[in-house]
Amino acid sequence: MITTDTTGAIPPVGETDDDLIQLLTPEGERVYHEAYTPRIEDLDRAALEGLYRDMVLVRRFDTEATSLQRHGELGLWPPCLGQEAAQIGSGRALARQDYAFPSYRELGVAWTRGVDLRKVLHQFRGEDHGGWDPAEHNFHLYTLVIGSHALHATGYAMGIQRDGDVGTGDPDRDRAVVAYFGDGATAQGDLNEALTFAAVNDSPVVFFCQNNHWAISEPTTRQSRVPLFHRGRGFGIPSVRVDGNDVLACYAVTTEALERARSGGGPTFVEAVTYRMGAHTTSDDPTRYRTKADEEVWRRRDPIDRLEVLLRAEGTGEEFFTALDAEADELGEDVRSYCRAIPVPPASRMFENVYATENALVSTEREWFTEYSEGFLTEEVAR
């Protein structure tokens, strides 16, 4: 699946390229697609510049976070480097009332949901298990147990059905859900159970699989014999394969899938073929399992570069890029100072919200701990 040719024409993505939906080539040229080009007709130049800005700022934030980890300010960071088009393209297709369930790498989606990205740092600094109120952004917390949130997404979609917010035709009312997950997650039982529940209930949920070619060190061939969008079809779910580094195509297919969902057509499975350009997380060492040459091929398919070529070709001037650079620099600086200022939480936080109700066991242990800590302080002082 990995091509090592680093010269000449950029090799096509994936094995079965006939199936791959693409509206913008790695070279930055538009491709006409009968079904999907009409879906991006509303994207004027300002909108394209908006998508570009999204990707650039998210990448900058992501790069800063990676470097904060290197400087010991974060315990861990899972970069989304290279996956910006998949995340921004799909995320921007969501309506305000839609709901997204991310995995743990969906920084770009968080951005499209209006989450202050700095809140994402708290979890990786070891200060919070979450960091934002899901209901405020219709963006669930990150879920680290692979695959399990696909069921939560499906259940949430079953709730939307019971609320009657499907197929009313009212664009402000009809709602849908997107579940984000990776190629590795397709092997989990939970992911497959989610496909079953969604299919038999016609639930309004889009299964958005970012096939970034790797599950830590394992290539996608260890998870499946065939392209992953086949999986959805096996459950009777309409399924498409899209160039995940093409922000326009990702926007188009997600828009279609969400429309189907909101109008009562049930689930869709999207396989966005992309590439994890960075390490799995800052703890990972990709040199153990892949070559620089492989990475180089994908660097040439960079999702941001190709949109820049298009924008320049379609008339966006240098001022735009210069201004955006400045904005990114500012964001970067702000992130660093914000991160360093995150305070260590009080120890009592351990005992909070274990239950939503009073719980005798928790109270007893909290009291013991308080006394113990105070006694300890007293002792220290006494010394």
Binding site: D128, H129, G130, D133, P134, A135, H140, L141, T143, V145, S148, A150, L151, H152, A153, T154, G155, Y156, A157, M158, G159, I160, Q161, R162, D163, G189, D190, E193, A194, T196, F197, V200, E352, N353, V354, Y355, A356, T357, N359, A360, L361, V362
Partner: protein
């Protein structure tokens, strides 16, 4: 949605299965967000008929026959709860809860905590549990200890129809996830249930937090829950004939455990026997014995005795009555602690 006028007491004689059925019905009438999910709970009414008639009256969207996948049931219930619903899941038998173990312990139990209170997941998981019905493998297990160790979950078990009726409504009203263990061998036991009290009792949470003294006595405390309460009560009657006065506690909750009620009783009797069907090794009796041995160190006149299943898989049904703690095993332990 609850009315403020108190209706005249209305008492019905109900089997436990029917009492739970009625409790579910009341909860569904009271709150349109309550819905039931599980395998075969619709037209069939569940393999124990606990949901009998509910799909007919509330429709397939509120009494949902799910695909055959326990992780899927609990996982989608979590999503429904995030969306504002109060799902009540039925796991068909105790032995089939384990495919859902990850969703229950890593997701359901932790979401309120990890969201720092932003997300509540009021999911109830109903499980017919315990042995004694002559079933094949995986249909007679008592998994409570495997869940009580995990913070964020409440684990409860009613022992009689009246508590079953009340506690199922309290569990559904509770904003915490609750594992609701139904002693299947007691499903057909009948008792008077004050069904008019529904609205009041459902508001409270007593059944989810406190144990109850179901028989007073002075020589030995016998603490039990679920199916073993009946055994303990029978033992108390038998012991009386031999001149021993047993105090029987129905714990009702396994997480949290009402240690206060147990300690009070032990302060009076000085002796404690804990009874459950689950294996003794790492069972609930261990936690109770450890805590009471500590709290009542100077009151205990004998070591706490534990009566329960053996460290072996649940046996074939022809042997289950040798495996399960019965009247004689309880009395044997009572004799032991009295002999000290």
């Amino acid at each position: 949605m609850s009315t403020s006028t108190t209706p005249a007491p209305d008492t019905q004689r109900l089997a436990m299965a029917k009492a739970i059925n009625l409790g579910l019905r009341r909860a569904m009438e009271r709150d349109p967000k309550v819905l039931l999910m599980g395998e075969d709970i619709g037209a069939l009414g569940g393999v124990f008929r606990v949901t009998d008639g509910l799909q007919k009256d509330f429709g397939g969207d509120r009494v949902v026959d799910t695909p055959l996948a326990e992780s899927g049931i609990v996982g989608t219930a979590i999503g429904l709860a995030v969306a504002g619903y109060r799902p009540v899941c039925e796991i068909q038998f105790d032995g089939f809860i384990f495919p859902a173990y990850d969703q229950i312990t890593t997701q359901l139990a932790k979401l309120h905590y990890r969201s720092r209170g932003a997300v509540q997941v009021p999911v109830v998981i109903r499980v017919p549990y315990g042995g004694g019905i002559g079933a094949v493998e995986h249909h007679s297990e008592s998994p409570e200890a495997l869940f009580a160790h995990t913070a964020g979950l409440r684990v409860v078990s009613p022992a009689n129809p009246a508590d079953a009726f009340t506690m199922i409504q309290q569990a559904i009203a509770c904003p915490d996830p609750v594992l609701f263990l139904e002693p299947k061998a007691r499903y057909w036991d009948k008792a008077d249930v004050e069904v008019s009290a529904a609205d009041q009792v459902a508001g409270g949470q007593a059944g989810l937090n406190t144990a109850r003294v179901v028989r007073q006595g002075s020589d030995v405390t016998v603490a039990a829950y679920g199916p073993s309460v009946a055994t303990a009560l029978r033992a108390a009657t038998a012991a009386e004939a031999e001149g021993h006065s047993l105090e029987v506690l129905d714990l009702r909750t396994i997480s949290p455990i009402d240690f206060g009620t147990i300690a009070d009783s032990v302060h009076r009797t000085g002796r404690l026997v804990v009874v459950h069907e689950a294996p003794v090794f790492f069972g609930a009796g261990a936690e109770i014995a450890a805590r009471i041995s500590q709290e009542c160190f100077y009151h205990l006149e004998a070591p706490v005795a534990r009566v329960g299943g053996f460290h072996a898989p649940y046996p074939v049904s022809k042997l289950e009555h040798e495996y399960l703690p019965d009247l004689d095993r309880v009395l044997h332990a009572v004799d032991d602690v009295l002999a000290h």
